[in-house]
């Protein structure tokens, strides 16, 4: 009896990877796992991954990775069906987690946008806002980044397969710069860097390349007060304005970027939008 047990292959957890409105960069990060990709294919049953495989099997899925934001009427229905079929739903990337760069439309007149791009805008079905997955369905875990970090993804999947509750750090990029011994670009070069309010995950790539962080991992949490506490965007914004002489619209643009529609960044950008109007 014991023997037989050993030879039966264990049922592998079923993985589905779904795309909504996005650039595919986060899915490419999965393909960029390279050496680990084939192992992943052995450990998990990749049942649905149209970007990489024409073998597309129906749910239920143990894990659903969702890339992209919700921008069309159809998306709003499809995400419900993904949720129904998934035990654990994880959003991957700024698009799925925060609405992504396409959420820049949220401050604009989408009908006018359509006219800029398309001669016949009436054919184009598109919602006026780009929203994160969590505004539509319950999300079990959010993986930040534009794109996500491969290491973080791997850790998350490993934790999940081991039944461990995953916890990824959420401190600011700033801390990584100090750890890596990177000279502060704001102090040394006077460039407005979002590192102090941006979530860790990338390993401080931008300051390491001699430039400012532009917030692609979204708002950091905690700092002194602990997780869940928004970062001090107000203080950083004031420094941009008074210290680095940025005019309000420039401060606004800093916060209204890849993750511009996440609450702390959104609200900060709106403060400076008002200030710009009053000036």
């Amino acid at each position: 009896m014991e023997r037989q047990k050993e030879t039966t292959t264990p049922v592998r957890p079923r993985l589905g990877i779904f795309k909504f409105t996005s650039c595919d960069g986060c899915q490419l990060s999965i393909l960029n796992l390279e050496d680990d990709l084939l192992t992943l294919g052995q450990v998990l049953d990749i049942s649905y991954f149209p970007e990489a495989s024409s073998d597309m099997r129906a749910g239920p899925y143990d894990i659903a990775l969702v890339e992209g934001s919700i921008t069309t009427p159809e998306d709003t229905h499809r995400i419900l069906s993904v949720r129904e079929q998934a035990k654990v739903l994880i959003t991957i990337g700024a698009c799925a987690t925060a609405g992504g760069i396409q959420a820049l439309r949220n401050w604009a007149d989408v009908e006018a946008f359509k006219r800029v791009v398309y001669p016949n805008p009436q054919y184009i079905e598109s919602l006026t806002a780009s929203t994160p997955i969590s505004e539509h369905v319950r999300v079990d875990f959010e993986l930040w980044g534009c794109p996500i970090d491969r290491g973080q993804l791997l850790r998350l999947l490993t934790d999940l397969s081991a039944g461990v509750q995953s916890r990824l750090p959420s401190h600011p990029v700033c801390v990584d710069c100090k750890r890596r011994g990177i000279v502060c670009v704001m102090v040394a070069k006077g460039i407005p860097c979002l590192g102090p309010v941006t979530r860790t995950g990338c390993g401080a790539i931008c300051p390491g390349m001699g430039r400012d962080c532009y917030g692609c991992f979204g708002p950091a949490e905690g700092s002194v007060l602990g997780p869940g506490v928004p970062p001090n965007t107000a203080s950083l914004a004031k420094q941009f304005h008074h210290g680095l002489q940025l005019i309000p619209v420039e401060v606004l643009r800093r916060f209204r970027g890849i993750n511009g529609s996440v609450k702390p960044f959104r609200e900060e950008s709106q403060v400076w939008e008002r200030l710009g109007r009053d000036e």
Binding site: T21, N32, L38, P50, S54, D75, P147, I205
Partner: protein
């Protein structure tokens, strides 16, 4: 598939295709004759051109990178060249070489992904590269390692391979030290051998006998295989600069697709590795030329299925070019040249892995973008794909739907249309009357 196809027939196609978020194909057949071929790209519009308006020019590289995770460097390169034209900035010497080098990285990465993980499974009868690994582990591992070599170049120069962060108007935010570049060499030498083996491997595949008449368009530069610069040339004699692009090429919207169709004087045309190779094979490295000759193929290549061979030859070339540039590298005195903002309009065309990518910007005196226009390769190839399908369809009409669909998908994959559009999943609907 059968079940899904059934769904496609009973539910309005518009809804269902967007449900899948990918592409769909609709073919109408009457009395055994192909009437309509509609390639539908349902990638929802993301309005980049619209929200570039009002942004500062130095934000453009971070924004346009997000148009495509597979070829962000191409978007960054077309953008910086167009903006530099406005400001009268010239990037030369080793900074120019580094731009070629990071572009090589992207070609290697993107082409290796397509050759090994996306297209080869079609020729060997698998659903994916991952599935193919069960029987062809060595091949798949080789492909992934090749791809990784491309990523390594991008990561060294750009900080990361998806959405690199260092490219900017005037150059880079940081340039590598000689020693860092030399650290890539061993792996690139391995990759060069792997690329030679790749060309030989794919040249041995079985190709359908299919020679549509194609209008080819690519860049052509003097003395080098084109990445960032060159004249736009076509197989019917066009030879223009990027500035004249919109006088000859026009985008039309079709009701069934979110991607605009671009035509040259009203005709569909082909961009990408096949076109590039046909115009520029004389600028390949000696080794790449020799290996290409060894396949026994005669140029120009006209069979779209040979795209995978052209792509493999370009991987080899890009590796040779990378090694040459690394050998030559002399770190520039500064990572970027100074930029003085002035208002104006600028255009540029560069060679993305999938073909020419055109950008035009208008900037005001404060360096704020007032207008942006972007024509990606996939919108240019779309009409050509439809035309190929129209020509290829008659030989599929007697096949069961499922097999016909698969064959059509293969035709489409030859073009490596940008993944977020219509690459891997295609719902074929044949209407027989």
């Amino acid at each position: 598939m059968a079940e899904e196809k059934h769904k496609a027939r009973t539910i309005a196609i518009n809804t269902i295709a967007r449900v899948e978020g990918e592409g769909a194909l609709r073919v109408t057949v009457t009395d055994g004759l192909v009437q309509d071929v509609e390639l539908r790209i349902f990638e929802p519009p993301r309005f980049f051109e619209a929200f570039l308006q009002g942004r500062h020019y130095d934000e453009v590289t971070d924004i346009v990178a997000r148009i495509c995770g597979i070829c962000p460097v191409a978007y960054q390169m077309s953008a910086v060249h167009a903006l530099e034209q406005i400001f009268g900035v010239e990037v030369t010497g080793s900074l120019r070489d580094l731009r070629r080098l990071i572009y090589c990285g992207e070609w290697i990465e993107s082409h290796a992904l397509h050759v090994y993980m996306l297209q080869a499974p079609d020729f060997l009868g698998y659903d994916s590269g991952i599935a193919m690994a069960k029987d062809h582990a060595d091949m798949v591992t080789r492909g992934l390692r090749l791809k990784k070599a491309g990523n390594a170049i991008m990561t060294l120069l750009g900080g990361r391979s998806v959405h690199p962060v260092s490219v900017k108007v005037g150059g880079f935010s940081r340039v590598p030290r000689r020693r860092e570049l030399e650290g890539l060499k061993d792996e690139l030498l391995w990759a060069r051998d792997a690329a030679v083996a790749t060309v030989r491997w794919v040249a041995g595949f079985e190709y359908p006998d299919f020679l549509p008449d194609s209008l080819f368009v690519a860049l052509r530069a003097s003395g080098e295989y084109p990445f960032n610069e060159g004249q736009i040339v076509s197989s019917n004699g066009l030879q223009i600069s990027a500035t004249e692009f919109e006088r000859h090429f026009a985008e039309q919207q079709v009701s069934y697709s979110n991607a605009l169709h671009c035509t040259l004087h009203g005709s569909p045309y082909l961009v990408g590795p096949l076109a590039r190779l046909n115009f520029n094979h004389d600028h390949l490295s000696p080794l790449a030329r020799q290996i290409l000759a060894g396949t026994g193929l005669t140029l120009p290549l006209r069979n779209p299925f040979h795209g995978i061979i052209a792509r493999s030859v370009e991987i080899l070339y890009a590796l040779e070019e990378s090694l040459r540039l690394i050998e030559l590298y002399d770190p520039p005195p500064s990572p970027s040249v100074a930029v003085v903002v002035r208002p104006g309009s600028g255009t540029a065309c560069t060679e993305a892995p999938r073909g020419i990518l055109y950008h035009r910007y208008r900037v005001d005196a404060d360096g704020i973008i007032r207008e942006a226009k972007i024509v990606p390769p996939t919108s240019q190839n779309q009409g050509r794909i439809e035309q190929d399908l129209r020509l290829f369809m008659p030989r599929l009409l007697n096949l069961p739907d499922k097999e016909a669909a698969l064959a059509c998908e293969r035709v489409i994959r030859c073009y490596d249309p940008c993944i977020s559009c219509a690459t891997h999943f295609l719902r074929l609907e044949i209407e027989r009357e």
